[in-house]
Amino acid sequence: MKKALIALAATLVALSASAQGLVLFDTLAVDFQVRGPGNVAPGSGITAQLFQVGAGGALTPLTPATTFLGTDVPEAARVYTVPVEVAVPGVAPGVAANLVFRAYEGSSFETASVKGETAPFSVILGGGLLPAANLDALTGQSLTLVPEPSTIALGVLGAAALLFRRRK
């Protein structure tokens, strides 16, 4: 299997030396389900994005990001992303790349109040003459987005303050 992959990589590189590796960012295609707090579909305010794992675990965002399927599809399908094709710079077709899937509310994962991410996973990239690769390593898995601890703490404090005032 490894020899076949190496041969495939060599063929693809020879055929199209300038091609980038490609991933089909389509979680429906691998039945990878994402749910928000309360076990519901993420909804329109959530962004899904792939990140490339680099040296020392540094994460580089890949584009385009995408969103989740909306109300124009059956409810069971709204846990999946709108498909996009994502190029992985610096990694040729047929070569493995390590990626992380992230979903978050707002403009960035770092500042998001609701978010979630997978552990790093490996994908042998498509591209060149081969179709973009599926995210097979995520097949059948799921991810539940959770509120950030600061958000939870504020919510708890607010509820406690309300209870205190009522007792008074």
Binding site: A4, A7, T11, P83, P131
Partner: protein, 229 residues
């Protein structure tokens, strides 16, 4: 059954053959199909049963440095990889890592990439019999390049491609990415009761596509066709 449009670029000539005293005739329909190759990579099929279906015979007279790449799966390499040959006018033959490249076949139902090395369109003409009767195309698990054995245009659904949940059709567009080429990918979903991703495109006569059979085991794409229907 909806009547599909049979497209050939020349009039068919039919030769009737009486097979027995029962006066049952089989009609062989022969003709030719012109396939246009854009500069760069094209994913095409051989839509007719030629007298000689080898790559060397089908692609006679192509320009210098034309390349043909066939996606091959074997027991030792079940994932599949490309075997590529480059036609050289200096050598007067196909040059490839596979010494048997020119004798590899391309039959209806299969497909290959053909790279047009020029800057203008190139036409390849396929001559032969129209496939008729019960036509079966193997669909191995995973990726394979396939095409309709019936020389009709239509979407994969129109052409009777059997699909299961999460099977994918990858249609090559030679003009995508500024002429470098790229795929439009459609994924079949039982949840959606239809296709996700790119809408299924119309496959032309002589066009092949990548099919990714995601479900376990091999399958078969079977159609029954007669030029009289």
């Amino acid at each position: 059954m909806r009547t599909k449009t049979l497209i050939l670029t020349a009039a068919l000539s039919a030769a009737g053959v009486a097979t027995s005293m029962a006066q049952v005739y089989s009609v062989n329909a022969v003709g030719y199909v012109n396939t246009t190759l854009k500069p760069g990579y094209n994913l095409i099929s051989n839509p007719l049963i030629a007298a000689n279906n080898t790559i060397g015979s089908l692609f006679q007279g192509v320009p210098n440095l034309t390349q043909v790449s066939k996606f091959v799966k074997t027991e030792a390499n079940p994932t599949g990889s490309f075997v590529t040959g480059t036609y050289s006018t200096i050598l007067g033959r196909w040059n490839s890592t596979d010494a048997n490249f020119a004798n590899m076949t391309l039959v209806p139902g299969e497909g290959v990439f053909v790279r047009n090395p020029g800057t203008t369109d190139l036409t390849v003409t396929f001559v032969g019999e129209v496939p008729q009767g019960t036509l079966s195309t193997p669909l191995p698990q995973g990726l394979s390049i396939v095409s309709s054995q019936v020389p009709q245009s239509g979407t994969a659904t129109d052409l009777g491609l059997p699909v299961a949940n999460l099977d994918q059709v990858h249609q090559w567009d030679p003009a995508a990415n500024g002429g470098a080429g790229g795929y439009r990918t459609s994924t079949y979903s039982t949840i959606l009761n239809g296709w996700s991703g790119s809408p299924l495109g119309t496959l032309k006569v002589g066009e092949a596509f990548f099919f990714n059979k995601r479900s376990a085991g091999a399958g078969t794409w079977t159609r029954t066709f007669s030029v009289n229907q």
